[in-house]
Symmetry: none
Subunit: 195 residues, 4 copies
DNA sequence: CATGAATGAGAGTTCATTCAT
DNA sequence: GATGAATGAACTCTCATTCAT
């Protein structure tokens, strides 16, 4: 595979990403992608053979870029509470975005029964997120910042709430205030009273 | 609208419901419903003009029947903790069911942007559920069964966790043990240690 | 299946038959048939789902009509030699026809490996033809018209020659004189000298 | 045309030959050949511009190699009957082969009307074969091996039977026993009783 | 010469929707 | 009311053929 070919594949993935953000997964057709990419009908098939395959590539790219949620933008000497709050606010931003988010597409994609559930990208992100937050809570407790005696349980609870908020945002709608209320509840549970 | 006509409409809705349970929402076609109902192509259009319209009717029927989750099967003198646990276990059963559930279809349906979010059925169910659980917690606290100082916040947290579990079940898969862990965490948070 | 529907199916088969006669089997598309029938793209699929299925129907119709090759147009008191000669000349006419014959289409159709060879229409016709000719020869010998001591072998030889002539007509071309020569040889073998 | 170019053309023809043996003629695409040859899409077009052109080259090569059916492997002092039997058995082997034969492809190729019938390769082979067998019969009769008074007619009959068997093998299926029966009939007709 | 990316025509197929009966 | 035949739009996918490099 030449360099130019790689370039093109990346271009297709990035362009398709926009389409998935706009339309979700199920209703996106190869034709939609072809048209957005300004390539020929047959041209797309040179690189990918289905919307599912393209979507998986989009997810792969996505997860590469997403791996640094915690790593970037956090000052060296931030407290556990600050870091957790930062993370929750990032999630808030993400879930309040109407467009420019793949959330809907991801859910739609994994709704298909044929998809293997165990090894999928979102599961991996969920599990890794839980681990990171679990550690964060442990550090916070050791610091004396947090009060908590079930690190793992609390971390998992946080992630299910986040999943709940995400799906709620897509289906019933969610306001900033509603998300803030949940964040406040979570923090309060850890013994942190937000202003 | 004659009685026979009402009969027929109900028959269509009940039959379509099965189809939605099997295939979700997006992939169900008018043809699918026509075939399952054993009626004529044109016949269906006499009553309904789109799968969305039919699905809304299915939901309407559903929510009529679902309103008695708390009312049925609970003995008069059950404690608040017993009632809450009963409710959570009902939810567990629901979300572990692979087929015979409309969950996927409902999510898929509300993913379409065109749907008005504010007034939709699931939002109503969510909000009403929160209110009931909030009251239940209040009663429990007054009883001395529960320890909690944010009734509404806790009730909401519970419902977001349930939403999170539901969507997780559909996309990443969830085991009975995983649900039990979340239920235990919720109860523990209220000061109830499960065996 | 209503009467009108039957009518339509028959119309499609008869129209498709013309197409197969012109183009053989392999190159005929559903689109070709749709266009010749002056029906809509989707319309054809209401009745048949592939060119193969349509072709099989064409063959079925064909073999119904072909079953009276021997029965029609033969006077009651014809001799065995006359009947045989009549049959061979019918075959000659058939194989000299360039268009207006399904021969090419039939061969092309049965070239596909997926087709079950044992039970196919042309095999049945071949086998039945052999039996009839075998009996004819027997009668001729008993009459004293023919000289032959292997009825079945001779009948089979005749049919392989006819198959050979048919395929030769399609691939290398064949003239009336060439067919006549083969007919003469066959008759001579039975002790009949043609003028 | 350089030597290297000749080399390449030959390579293409030999490789394409395999493809035609597997798939016949009609369904073979330029893409098929390109892929089997491991050359570039455009590369093939430098040498040949259609599958028909390639197939004609395959046939040319074929007929060069086939010309020695009678010449090879026959001992100097073989009798006419032995030679004829050898030839017929070679044909039997050929027609019982399912794969590794161009028969189907050749028939399919010549089914296209556009092909000039008179000058084609198989006609030449047919005609030459008839001549050779005719001479063989003459020799056999002069030897006293055969009984026959129409050399040409008998030779032609043999070749039409062979054609008939070939096409039958492709369309209805043929067993070794069935071919043996025809060979026996042919030999018997010449006065030779096979064991 | 050789490559292989790119194009676009065209076949297959499925359905929402209409409409004469 | 009810039927189901008919239409046509939309999508998927495959190749022959070209052309810049």
């Amino acid at each position: 595979m030449s360099d130019k070919s790689e370039q093109k594949k990346k271009y297709i993935i990035e362009t398709a990403r926009e389409v998935f953000m706009e339309k979700g997964f199920k209703t996106v057709t190869m034709k939609d992608i072809v048209e957005r990419c300004n390539i020929s009908r047959g041209g797309l098939y040179l690189y990918y053979e289905s919307t599912a395959q393209i979507f998986l590539e989009v997810l792969k790219l996505e997860s590469q870029e997403a791996d640094d949620v915690f790593s970037g933008n956090i000052s060296e000497d931030a407290t556990a509470a600050e870091i957790l709050l930062f993370f929750l606010n990032e999630q808030k931003k993400e879930l309040l975005r109407k467009s420019n988010t793949l959330t809907k597409a991801i859910y739609e994609f994994y709704f298909s029964e044929e998809r293997p559930k165990k090894t999928n990208v979102i599961k991996r992100q969920f599990d890794e997120g839980v681990k990171i937050v679990e550690n964060l809570i442990r550090v916070g407790v050791e610091n004396g910042e947090f009060v908590c005696d079930d690190y793992k349980g609390t971390a998992r609870n946080i992630f299910y709430v986040l999943e709940g908020l995400k799906i709620t945002a897509q289906t019933m709608g969610v306001t900033a205030a509603m998300v803030d209320a949940e964040i406040a509840y979570i923090m309060q549970n850890l013994g942190i009273e937000l202003a």
